[in-house]
């Protein structure tokens, strides 16, 4: 499925994705209207379910707040594609069932507003007539993601 790209810079920290003061709101539905507020206050209105966030190196660095991938998922972001991820963000995203994938070449070739399509299982992105290969998730993490995140995965183990 094709979606619109929202592109962000290198070392994008979790304070920019969702600032500390909003972590006190009681749920992600209340928080999601403040996603990327310091960088693009219109983001929550502009992003549509199925759209993609594209980042540079070290996407999601900083705090351990799971609310960062949480608000992106709540806004319907299909996946985050970046040159590299900070480890806590990466783990949190998988655990809540938000696809994240490393793609070295794509981010430099696209801008906000471009369209792209991701095949997570094959690790391939198509954008602007080009095909980009991404680094596939380790099988262990792909399994958690396929099951819909850590809670679903734990329930399955118990069953």
């Amino acid at each position: 499925m094709s979606g619109k790209i929202f592109k962000f810079h290198n070392d994008l920290d979790t304070d920019q994705i969702i600032a500390s003061q909003y972590l006190l709101l009681s749920n992600l539905e209340e928080m999601k209207g403040h996603a990327f507020e310091s960088l693009d206050p219109e983001f929550p209105q502009k992003v549509k379910p199925g759209d993609y966030v594209v980042g540079g190196e070290n996407f999601g660095c900083g705090s351990s707040r799971e609310q960062a991938p949480g608000v992106l998922k709540a806004l319907g972001v299909e996946a985050v594609v970046a040159k590299s991820f900070a480890r806590i963000f990466y783990r949190n995203a998988i655990n809540i069932g938000l696809p994240v994938i490393v793609c070295k070449e794509l981010p430099d070739d696209v801008e906000t507003g471009d369209e792209m399509e991701l095949n997570m299982m094959e690790g391939v992105v198509r954008a602007k007539g080009n095909t980009y290969s991404c680094t596939k998730l380790p099988p262990y993490m792909q399994q958690i993601l396929n099951q819909g995140g850590l809670i679903a995965s734990l329930n399955k183990e118990e069953a």
């Binding site: 070392d11 304070d15 920019q16 500390s20 006190l24 310091s38 900083g62 480890r87 809670i151």
Partner: protein, 418 residues
């Protein structure tokens, strides 16, 4: 083949002969830390997962610090949920107003060398100061640990950082770690463990090592470790056992990278707005006018930090247009600083001394700044908007430098503030 410190800790934990970087293993968790901001989310996930009980109540520590004392009515909701959770599952380790989580975990003896400890805050890397494997996780994973007592981890590669010699007068471990973050870059240690060694590191107090382990995450590191020694044993109030004594990097261990520094080459530095890896010598920045100074946080709010600041400010006054905010990291630090006259010296110089806790560091209370203002701060992050609006400039520095700047009203090197 030899092993790095983190490989030894993980091998020991899972009962294996050895592990290698990239292995995915399931570790038995020795202790977990839940902080007040995340507690409501952890509790909701724990209940959603349907576990009948916490795997081991004694291994669970709840700490209220970011929201203490409450600055908004809603903050108290977090305490209530935490109190009810502790009551329901028999958790005794509950700190309602004793200070910052990372300070308390080691200070109150919850972490020992060789332990595997996880917390819902990214600065959980701090406990590597006593030779533990510790790192931050999200609230869903924390809920899963509370139910299972286990967590899967990928064994990280190790970057060895060797620092030999003696640090120059006025240079603190904060200057060392800032320089290292500048050299590595904000993602230079991503997924990796930083292993600190060398004679300069051996001379450091546990508090100074804590500052460095605390900021390892700012280079993206998964964790940071120091070899436990006699100082560690004394700090933890234990005798090191054979396993704990073995926690040194073997000479034939495989390192992803080795960085070698001479301690004498370090100088006072600052991380400039708004990136932690934008490191400049204090000398280059001298003269920049400031509005506020913050001395505190889990990075630099300990007794030795407050003492250094008091030594700089003794008999001097904070510039009249500057607000100096001092926030001890814990109640114990607060009491000791009071007993030693450190708080008196700081108060006489014009400091605003606040209650122990996270305070201004997380931008929720106690000195929020507004557009165009500039602050010199001893904490760990200068991200856009962290201490107020996104038009505030945050310079990160050591307590010695911060205190000197408070007296001068501008950026200066310690010793130049008069």
């Amino acid at each position: 083949m030899g092993q790095t410190i983190i490989e030894k800790i993980i091998s020991h934990n899972i009962g294996a002969e050895s592990v290698k970087p990239g292995d995915i293993v399931t570790v038995q968790v020795d202790r977990v830390m839940l902080d007040d901001i995340m507690i409501p989310f952890i509790v909701a996930k724990f209940e959603e997962m349907g576990f009948p009980q916490v795997w081991d109540a004694d291994k669970v520590v709840l700490i209220y610090d970011h929201l203490v004392p409450a600055s908004q009515q809603d903050d108290t909701r977090h305490y209530k949920i935490g109190d009810a959770f502790a009551e329901k599952y028999g958790i005794q380790n509950l700190h309602r107003s004793d200070g910052i989580c990372h300070q308390l975990m080691t200070e109150a003896g919850y972490v020992k060398p060789g332990d595997a400890v996880f917390g819902t805050d990214s600065h959980t890397t701090t406990y590597g100061c006593v030779g533990a494997f510790s790192t931050g996780i999200g609230y869903t994973e924390m809920a899963a640990i509370l139910g299972t007592g286990t967590l899967w981890v990928k064994v990280p590669e190790t970057i060895r950082v060797q620092i030999d010699g003696k640090l120059p007068e006025g240079v603190m471990s904060k200057d060392v770690i800032l320089r290292l973050i500048g050299d590595l870059g904000a993602d230079g240690a991503t997924y990796r463990c930083l292993e600190f060694t060398g004679s300069a590191v051996e001379q450091m107090t546990v508090s100074s090592r804590m500052t460095m382990a605390n900021m390892a995450i700012e280079a993206g590191a998964k964790c940071a470790v120091f070899t436990p020694d006699e100082k560690t044993a004394e700090y933890c109030g234990i005798q090191l056992d054979d396993f704990q004594k073995s926690l040194t990097g073997d000479s034939d261990a495989v390192y992803a990278q080795t960085l070698i520094y001479q301690a004498e080459d370090f100088e006072p530095v600052m991380a400039c707005p708004s990136q932690v890896d934008k490191i400049r010598s204090v000398k280059e920045l001298e003269g920049t006018i400031i509005d506020q100074v913050f001395i505190g946080s889990c990075t630099n709010g300990r007794l030795e930090d407050l003492k250094v600041a008091a030594d700089v400010l003794k008999g001097k006054k904070v510039a009249d247009f500057v607000k100096l905010i001092v926030t001890p990291a814990s109640r114990k630090v607060y009491e000791e600083a009071a007993a030693q006259g450190i708080l008196k010296t700081l108060a006489e110089a014009g400091a605003i001394i606040t209650h122990p806790g996270c305070g201004l560091c997380c931008g929720r209370t106690g000195g929020i700044l507004s557009d165009g203002e500039r602050v010199v701060a001893t904490n760990n992050r200068n991200f856009l908007g962290r201490m107020g609006t996104s038009k505030v400039e945050i310079y990160l520095a050591s307590p010695a430098t911060a205190a000197a700047c408070a007296a001068a009203g501008r950026i200066v090197s310690a010793g130049q503030e008069a």
